[in-house]
């Protein structure tokens, strides 16, 4: 089976392609990348006016299966991913039971294979039951398909445990994805600590709850030489620390999420539980710092922290409602705003959504080299649409962006040469 994607504007940061070229897919691989082809193919796709990019990777999602199927399943989550233009996602291990064994990895990957949607690269727990006490079997997890390790949602408070994890993970070349949160400073908070939390009478979480832990983790990464990646960074204070660490040669990497460069804590006004996530939305100054850090490379990748919750859970009192919002289906459009605002070039954005996460995970993806696996996202950067809860593939609707008019959407997604999204609909 040969598929020719022609007339599209191909953006491939690794191969420094940024112009109109054609791509020939043969079976699961990219066969050829060339100008003005006259090759015969079984199918031709005219991508005129569209961007053709390496398949996007979201290295931070929650798919909720097993244990919380009422929020999301692997199927609905992967459908949401495909719809959002992603060819691969990394689900975090905070399922029930916690994904801390090889069989948990195998279960998730098996489900994804059966569904034949997009890639699922699971993240295994760092410690048993994410309790922060005993290490999981990193080797077994890796054999089962774990692409990285994390206790996401729960910080590893014992510095010695994190040190051992970073050291031991070196043997398996696994990255530890750190959810930075000083539990003492967090102290039952439910939004950013500032004027708005004072007004609303909600317990605040200071930015230092994140940055204090970032500071510690940089020290541990430097001490051990282990691979450490910072999840969902939200504050200027953390970013200043990460920038400085990178300048000094530290190998740490970092991600942020679209809500941290679009929203401030003012979105919580009216006790909007769809603006409740952890870390919390912060100030205008932090939003600007996130954008600057995307521009200067302090932040390597954009993830979503896609965190589905049921409507009744989010309908409860603000302090009782769970943290988290969904993001897979809005991430691309919200991130394209960065290109419109000239924070990033199109190539820069594509890199942050494909090549960068692949590199952090040690995956040979995120590029369109000849011979590479044909994971490809085609997007229409001009298509305007309105975020509508009834149109989500995700089982949950908890988004603070409902009703937003946005621009840009994935139209076609190929996963190992197999089309999973066609004209914006799941195949």
């Amino acid at each position: 089976m040969k598929i020719l994607i022609k007339n599209g504007h191909v953006v491939d940061p690794r191969n420094k392609i940024d112009g109109v070229v054609d791509i020939l897919i043969e079976n699961d691989r990219i066969k050829k990348v060339f100008k003005k082809s006259d090759v015969k193919a079984d199918r031709e796709i005219d991508a005129k006016g569209k961007i053709v990019a390496p398949g996007f990777i979201d290295m931070h999602v929650h798919l909720r299966q097993p244990g919380y199927e009422y929020k999301e399943t692997i199927e609905t989550g992967l459908r949401a991913a495909a719809k959002g233009g992603f060819t691969g996602v990394c689900p975090m291990p905070n399922t029930n039971p916690v994904a801390d064994r090889r069989s948990d990895m195998e279960f998730m990957i098996g489900e994804a294979r059966r569904l034949s949607l997009v890639n699922l690269w699971p993240v295994g727990a760092v410690t048993l039951k994410q309790e922060g006490k005993e290490l999981t079997e990193f080797g077994e997890l890796k054999k089962g398909g774990a692409m990285a390790l994390s206790d996401d949602g729960r910080p590893i408070t014992d510095s010695q445990i994190l040190r051992r994890a970073l050291e031991y993970a070196k043997k398996f070349d696994l990255t530890i994805l750190a959810h930075c949160q000083d539990e003492g400073l967090f102290c039952g908070g439910c939004m950013h600590e500032g004027f708005i939390s004072t007004r609303l009478g909600l317990a605040g979480i200071p930015a230092e709850a994140e940055s204090a832990e970032v500071a510690r983790d940089i020290q541990l990464a430097n001490l051990t030489g282990g691979k450490l990646h910072f999840c969902h960074i939200s504050s200027k204070k953390s970013l200043d620390l990460i920038r400085e660490a990178k300048k000094r040669g530290s190998l740490v990497t970092a991600e942020t999420c679209p809500h941290y460069f679009h929203l401030t804590d003012a979105a919580v006004l009216g006790y909007n539980t769809n603006a409740k996530m952890n870390p919390p939305l912060r100030t205008r100054e932090d939003v600007e710092a996130v954008k600057l850090s995307l521009k200067d490379g302090t932040i390597d990748t954009i993830a979503t922290d896609h965190a589905p919750h049921s409507e009744s859970e989010k309908a409860s009192e603000f302090d009782q409602a769970p943290f988290g919002i969904i993001g897979l289906e809005t991430s691309l459009a919200l991130s394209l705003d960065l290109v419109a605002e000239k924070v990033l070039t199109m190539s820069g954005l594509v890199e942050k959504m494909s090549l960068a996460p692949a590199k952090i995970l040690g995956l040979d993806r995120g590029h369109l080299s000849e011979g590479a696996v044909a994971d490809i996202t085609i997007l229409d950067p001009t298509q305007q649409w309105v975020v509508d809860a009834t149109k989500f593939e995700s089982k949950s609707k908890n988004s603070p962006f409902l009703g937003w008019k946005v621009k840009g959407r994935a139209t076609d997604v190929f996963c190992a040469g197999r089309q999973v999204l066609k004209d914006g609909e799941i195949v």
Binding site: G201, H262, T264, V268, L269, D319
Partner: protein, 341 residues
């Protein structure tokens, strides 16, 4: 006579100024609305001193007290207020209702509403619960304390009491003392006092002063001996040990020494200073017994005025039903969108 005066003289004015089925916070009230509540309460205050303590203002209306936190004073005050207005009032408390069986707040409220209750008076441990509830039921909601957010009727009765004792609110110097961080009474007082032109200072241990409180237009002081000096009113907040996570101050003993009002400390204050406390008083902690029972104290006037304020609030919110703006949530939605950009 009172009801006739309210019905006739003030009816037009009231309908123009008051369009709320809910009282969720003092923050949402304008200066004119606050003044209307205080003036309405003044008319109602006289009712409580009559031999027959009842007017038919809310005859045929049903009010529900929905309390998710233990409360005797506030609940009783609302109950008396409703009864003096001839409304029927029923009491729900969390322990006796189905919330302990996992029913959600909106389910509980909708069930109460299905019995055709006109106004729900709610106290709840979560900040914002009153506002959230007001969006899912048609009945009026009167916030009787939501978490550490606001306690609007307490704020209004404090304003009423200050106005009564000092004849004015404009330019009056008021110091709120104690645990500002966990105090819904403080937030309601600050909003109301600042709107009415009073000068507000908050004084307490630095650990109990919330972030950026000065942006509400108040001064912050950590030293009570300095703070008491030129105040017209000292409103002393209750230390709510049950609300505090972690150590905000080392001991009750040290708290009393640094932030308690004793006769000794009171000598530094103006001779006509008024001492207020929302109750119940931890005697020997926030106030010495001598001060609590002394000539500066207006604590029992606050209790008396509380009934009048709650009569005014129940009257205004329950009688608004023919007025157009029934859904103030629209305001908060647009505010949210603004904040989201």
């Amino acid at each position: 006579m009172t009801e006739i005066r309210i019905q006739k003289t003030e009816d037009r004015e009231r309908k123009k100024t008051w369009v709320r089925k809910d009282l969720l916070s003092v923050e949402e009230l304008s200066k004119e609305e606050i003044k209307l509540v205080l003036d309405t309460a003044e008319s109602f205050k006289e009712v409580s001193s009559r031999d027959v303590k009842k007017v038919p203002a809310l005859r045929g209306k049903t009010i529900a007290n929905l309390f998710f936190e233990p409360s005797t004073r506030t609940r009783t005050s609302f109950e008396l207020a409703a009864k003096r207005l001839s409304a029927d009032i029923i009491n729900f408390s969390a322990s006796g209702s189905s919330t302990s069986k996992g029913e959600s707040l909106s389910d509980t409220a909708k069930n109460i509403e299905a019995m055709h209750v006109d106004t729900i008076v709610m106290r709840h441990p979560s900040s914002g619960s009153a506002e959230v509830l007001s969006r899912c039921v048609k009945a009026g909601i009167v916030n009787a304390g939501d978490g550490i957010h606001e306690h609007p009727t307490q704020g209004l009765l404090d304003l009423f009491t200050i106005r009564e004792k000092k004849k004015n609110l404009e330019g009056i110097r008021v110091c709120l003392v104690g645990d500002i961080l966990h105090s819904r009474v403080a937030r309601s007082n600050i909003w109301g006092l600042v709107k009415m032109g009073a000068k507000v200072t908050v004084c307490g241990p630095p650990t109990l002063i919330p972030a950026k409180i000065e942006e509400l237009g108040v001064e912050v002081c950590y030293d009570l001996d300095k703070a008491v000096k030129d105040q017209d009113v000292l409103n002393i907040l209750r230390i709510q040990l049950e609300r505090q996570r972690g150590a905000f101050f080392p001991s009750i003993r040290e708290y009393a020494a640094e932030y308690g009002i004793s006769s000794e400390r009171l000598k530094k204050a103006k001779p006509d200073v008024v001492i207020m406390h929302p109750g119940p008083v931890n005697r020997g902690v926030e106030l010495s017994s001598a001060v609590a029972d002394g000539k500066h104290s207006v604590i029992l006037d606050q209790v008396t005025n509380g009934v009048a304020i709650r009569m005014a609030v129940l009257f205004l919110t329950t009688m608004v039903d023919s007025d157009p703006i029934r859904h103030p949530e629209q305001a908060s939605v647009s505010e949210r969108v603004e904040g989201s950009s």
